[in-house]
């Protein structure tokens, strides 16, 4: 049997849009993950602290309200400082204010340290597929 991976979910910053992260969390649970569900308005610090404490394998962060970029300034460094180089980082939602070129958005968030970036039409089955692959690649399962 493969090891049960631990993943963290929640919306970052001041974002109150809870539906997406709730549905995502449930889908992850149904897929067999150990999900630490932080809900809305999780600060970057809280994400990293909980990641350390729970020895999480991945964070699946949500943001819809458009201000994630502001919320996540310097996030990559914080992760490094916390010794979380190995943590898999995903983010999904509406990642800017107004219509955006998704390629641009993706680039911006990859720079912030996210391995994968998803638009709101992301299909959760393939998200979970991606996650399995990335976990496997990092020898985490």
């Amino acid at each position: 049997m493969k090891k049960q991976a631990t993943v963290i979910t929640g919306t970052v910053g001041m974002d109150a849009h809870v539906i997406g992260t709730k549905i995502l969390s449930r889908a992850l649970k149904d897929a067999g993950f150990n999900v630490v569900e932080l809900g809305i308005q999780v600060s970057p610090e809280e994400f990293t602290e909980v990641a350390k404490k729970t020895k999480a394998d991945a964070i699946l962060m949500t943001s819809l309200y458009g201000m994630a970029e502001l919320d996540l300034r310097g996030f990559k460094e914080k992760c490094k400082q916390a010794g979380l180089e190995d943590l898999i980082l995903y983010i999904g939602g509406v990642l800017g204010v107004g219509r955006q070129d998704f390629k641009e958005v993706e680039k911006r968030f990859k720079k912030l340290g996210f391995e994968r970036v998803y638009p709101p039409e992301a299909n959760l089955e393939s998200v979970i597929e991606d996650l399995w692959n990335d976990l496997r690649a990092k020898g985490k399962t």
């Binding site: 910053g13 001041m14 974002d15 109150a16 849009h17 809870v18 539906i19 709730k22 549905i23 449930r26 809900g39 809305i40 308005q41 309200y65 458009g66 201000m67 970029e69 502001l70 509406v94 800017g96 204010v97 107004g98 219509r99 955006q100 638009p119 709101p120 039409e121 992301a122 299909n123 959760l124 089955e125």
Partner: protein, 486 residues
Amino acid sequence: MEIRVKQKRIDEERFLEMRKEVLAQWPTGKEVDLEEAVAYQLSLPESKNFMKVTEKARQEGETLIWPRAGTPVLEDEIALVKTLVDAGIRHIPVTIDSYTRLLQFEKAQQALEESIKTGRPMLNGYPIVNHGVKKTRKVVESVEAAFVPRGAGRLAMEIALASGMTAAGKSSLFEFGSYEKKTTLEECFEHSQYTDRLAGYYTERGAIISTDIHGLVPSGVFPFSVNIACIIIDSLVAAEQGVKSIMPQTHCLGHMAQDIAWMRLIPRLMREYLEKFGYKDVVVPGILANQIPLFPVPQGMGGAFAYLNYTAMVAALAEAEAVFVRTIDEGAGVATRESHALSYESANWILNVVRTQKIKCEIDGVETEEKVTDVEVRAILDKVLELGDGDVVIGSIKGVEAGVIDSPFSPNINIKDKVLGVKDVTGACRYLEFGNLPIPDEIKEFHREKIAERERAEGRKLDYQVAVEDLWALSKGRIVGAPSAS
């Protein structure tokens, strides 16, 4: 647990004390001089008064469009409201950014400055506190329309009203159920008693400030009775603080008979309860129909227009005074000015063409939906009042604890989340899980039958998965969800 807050008007002295604290939260607080602000309000033409604009629409048989208008940079905001008014808009709800909503004025300031510098809006709304009274008056004075701040906290409301905005859309239960994570309902009541009292203060001096009330959670596929009970509770709370004009918001969840039934029921029940509790001179100027279900991407342009046109159509057939339609950009992000103009041009086509016909129509099922919801709302309110021993504030706080007020998909950890809704075969919202809602048995039976009917039709059990499918339905051009939905 001791409950500090009650259904009782804040006394003048204490209120003025509290105001000092609030105004000190940010330097622009100093720009608010209450007496000067009342005088300024009294100098505004009727076309800027929310209640009067709404009542005029009612008299003239028009349905007004509620847009959404909030962008950080002052000049952009002025350009935006001008675009809106050119598109025929007469109510302007100003979305306030999320930092400001959560009192992070420092962060909002930085992001505002950065937005100015980069030319890219970094905030998802208009940071009204940072702009302050003088600048916001420029916005209000730039067009002929009535302004309503969205999501204003106490200081934001002070600035909004002093700037000539004439409505105070802030309700305890909505803040509690939709925007907050850990805040208790008690705290939310305290906040909105303040803003309601502020509106009451202006009102007593002749500047009628309306308030619009939204419910608990815009959670999509969920019968509206809990929200209606919450609307009534919040109206009573506002009325106690001296608010004399209250506009309820209903959600258009897509099922015509249900949506219309709710539009009819809400003002009727509100008036009844306001009357019952002695708030006899409170006006309900109209009903605002709010297009609520998700408008997620992927939403092709064709579907986006259809969806907003449909909402306009339902509001027009129900003769609603106002309708909050989404723009074609809803799923993509804060709308561009062009999207606003195009979307409202489209909705206005429908509204003008339909309302001019003065259509009276009876849709089968409206009566049943109205009756069912009526019974549910009364049952919830009765229980709340029982728990509060007649005090609606105390009763609501206890009601939330007891799951008598509950909702799925709320961000607030204080909400039980033991309930769930799904659609029936015709797309009406039904309770799948009742949690502790005090719904009478025969009504529960009604919901169960509707659920069973769909289960038979689709040959499967309805469950959480189906609830999620139903959540996506309208954005995929259907009224009932289908298995393929992501």
